[in-house]
Symmetry: C2
Subunit: 460 residues, 2 copies
């Protein structure tokens, strides 16, 4: 192990340079104009994995390709097998004017590396690759077999990964999946995430008159689709911050006393949290703390509103249409399909006959929860402590990694969520950054992980 | 008069070509990038008026310049003096993708000339210029003095015209103002408009978190500005189509039985009206017909909504801010200043403490109403009948020409609204057009007007 740890120390600066190369690709999966950039990014990754010594294949899908990289297998010797999952696609960088420097031109300031995708998720998956590189390049034997699966559609709902997993089920006979795509409360609190929220995206479009109308000449005789949309969507959340859809909460699992106690351990005051959000007053479901609300309670959010004239000055029209992009976050044991039906029913019930409604369901992902006290979880907690030299914390997270439930369903494997992101990493926001200490400690954690996880498998 | 009428006949085609030249200028007053185009359009108009034989001056303002063109005055002879008002600025052409051909490349199909500004208002003010040209070029004496005032800020609230009128009050000692910037129900129903709605533009912006936030990681703990906006703005209109602002209707004048009867003369069925709007169901204030609603009842309209991610696919964020552009239409005797105070008060009352609201008042214009039975109005109805060879109709219109109340206040003159637009002209919509029959008959009407109006002045 000493050779491995020395290798990490000696190559630290190159690792950062490589991360810079990785984040330069504008691999925005939501935007069709970036299709080629995703392919280029995937090809860079393939070459990088091959350089490390991994047996690497680029698998095309109907969407963006999947990179699969395996540690060389020793014939005849059956080792515990783990999968490391990550994604090379990133969120759209808009609004561009809010970035201090261009989103795809990495900039280092202190220990922060600023770039879209630096934290979510390129920096985190590269950390695992660097740990394995240290084993392979120093000729140190890995006590386990590893398969990296790095996809390009996580930010658009991992549309084609389930099919990929099904096709490769046999070779992915893994003990567990390791994913670093979540966060930790601070560098002093490395974390194991044992639950995630699910997601359901819904787009609602209302069409009114056949064209934008002069609001003076015609205003007052036809419904205004933007007004109808405001009134419709506004009814989806009540004044107590609850989703106002009948049946929505039917399957929501109650938080246990133990969990509510663990939430209280999170080392952040409400004042600090408000400061982090940039608001003077919080708003959320009554009866829950912000940390419970964001991680363990469902919500409805408008992600975008579009209607009529948006330029300078005014344009006196009744717009022909209006659109809202919504996402609902779900918690155990809500089922996206069942919830979707309830939402569609309510939208149809609320929609007035004076506009034509089109509802489009986007990506959906089930909420996820696993035991935080299994031997593998305990082994993971041990490596976190070793790498960060701090007592780790058990947390639930508000984000969604829909594919995690697929790992369970298709591969039969639980997932260890060992996130390296910090709360102020600005994932999905302008000026996303990744902390280079987290990068370094993440590499170290991954290095120890491949020692500890096989032991836990043997012991159990 | 024969020479004048012959001149009109012989130059008809050139007049259309000149209108094409006029509409080629993208003189969009709301958009700063078109500032130079407005100046170019005004300069074209100045040269055109000079070519006709008018004494023309371009007056700069703090905004876009005003074109003033006068018929040559005969020394010592005092004639009745009339002002013709028009505007050379146009509405923004967006959304561009809905135009069959580019908005500033005129296209003639049948009797329709398609281009932004063709109907609102270039075609209509050019008609008056062509009538005067016929007098001047044939050496026919005009029984009155005329002053054309053609401004470049009508579509943005005529911000600097009041000041201009004040500065030029003495030379604008007119009997009446003639404006063709309204409509007629059909070519068979030429119309005199005796009332207009007023307008009040208000922009509401709600700011929430200091940046777009990841809606998974943070959603449920801070207010979503787009949701807050929907709930806030949605409360401004009740289910009966009434503006839900306390005090809003306090000063609204009741429609008289005579007026409601005149509204019934409008030669269009509700079915035809629905077809014109492109909707299967109308929506408006209960207790009023659509023609009353659009012309004689106040309303609130959302002109535009903006928030968060609007591109392809989805972006899972809590947007940092949301904005609604609103216009209220006002009717006699509502006062924009008083109404604005009521609206601001209600918005402030409704705004939750979890977002920061910025309200910006845009342009405002008072509603307008004059007697439809004055000698001048009767003379105007006579010329309409002569030009169109149909019995004219008396109407109220839903649009706002705020400057009309300024003519009354500053110049002490009533306005004759002799609109040449048809209901399907798509003013403020994509594929705006002007009917060339209306253009021709409008020129004819104007020609007769300068015979009849002076007589009415002498008689009264």
């Amino acid at each position: 192990m000493e050779a491995v740890l020395d290798y990490l120390k000696n190559n630290r600066e190159r690792f950062v340079r490589e991360l810079c190369d990785y984040v330069r690709f504008p691999s925005v999966s939501a935007q069709p104009q970036h299709r080629t950039d995703l392919v280029k990014c995937a090809e860079w990754l393939v070459n990088h994995c091959r350089g490390i010594g991994l047996e690497t294949t680029l698998y095309p899908t109907a969407g963006h390709p999947v990179v699969v990289a395996k540690t060389p297998r020793k014939a005849g010797k059956k080792k515990p097998h783990f999968m490391v999952y990550g994604h090379y696609d990133v969120q759209p960088p808009e609004p561009l004017e809010l970035w201090k420097t261009p989103p795809f031109e990495p900039r280092i300031e202190g220990t922060s590396l600023f770039a879209r995708g630096s934290s979510d998720n390129k920096g985190q998956n590269l950390a695992h690759l660097k740990a394995v590189e240290a084993y392979l390049k120093t000729g140190t034997e890995l006590p386990c077999d590893l398969t990296f699966v790095i996809e390009g559609e996580e930010e658009v709902g991992s549309k084609h990964l389930a099919q990929f997993l099904q096709q490769h089920r046999k070779e992915l006979d893994v003990e567990s999946v390791v994913v670093s795509d979540t966060g930790m409360p601070s560098k002093k609190f490395p974390a194991l995430t044992y639950a995630l929220r699910g997601i359901l995206a819904v787009e609602v479009r209302l069409d009114g008159p056949s064209r934008d109308l002069h609001s003076g000449i015609y205003g007052g005789t036809v419904d205004n689709p933007a007004m109808a949309l405001c009134q419709l969507i506004g009814k989806l959340r009540d004044k107590n911050g609850r989703v106002a859809v009948p049946g929505f909460y039917d399957d929501v699992e109650k938080l246990s006393a133990y969990e509510r106690k663990e939430f209280k351990r999170i080392p952040m005051s409400e004042g600090e949290y408000k400061k982090l959000m940039g608001v003077s007053k919080l708003f959320g479901e009554k009866g829950f703390t912000p940390f419970e609300q964001r991680a363990a309670r469902p919500t409805v959010e408008i992600n975008g509103l579009t209607s009529g004239y948006q330029g300078d000055g005014s344009k006196t029209i009744v717009p022909a249409w209006a659109r809202a992009k919504l996402t609902f976050r779900l918690v155990p044991n809500q089922n996206p399909t069942k919830v979707r039906a309830a939402i569609f029913k309510q939208l149809k019930k609320l929609c007035p006959p004076t506009v034509r409604m089109t509802i489009t369901a986007g990506h959906g992902g089930e909420p996820y929860i696993v035991s935080p006290t299994s031997p593998l979880a305990k082994a993971a907690l041990k490596t976190l402590k070793e790498a960060f030299r701090r007592e780790p914390i058990l947390i639930r997270e508000g984000g969604s990694i829909p594919i995690v439930t697929q790992f369970k369903k298709i591969l039969g494997a639980d997932t260890l969520l060992l996130g390296l992101a910090l709360p102020d990493d600005n994932a999905h926001s302008p000026n996303e950054k990744f902390d280079l200490d987290c990068f370094e400690k993440g590499i170290l954690m991954s290095t120890h992980l491949w020692q500890e996880l096989p032991k836990a498998v043997s012991a159990s």
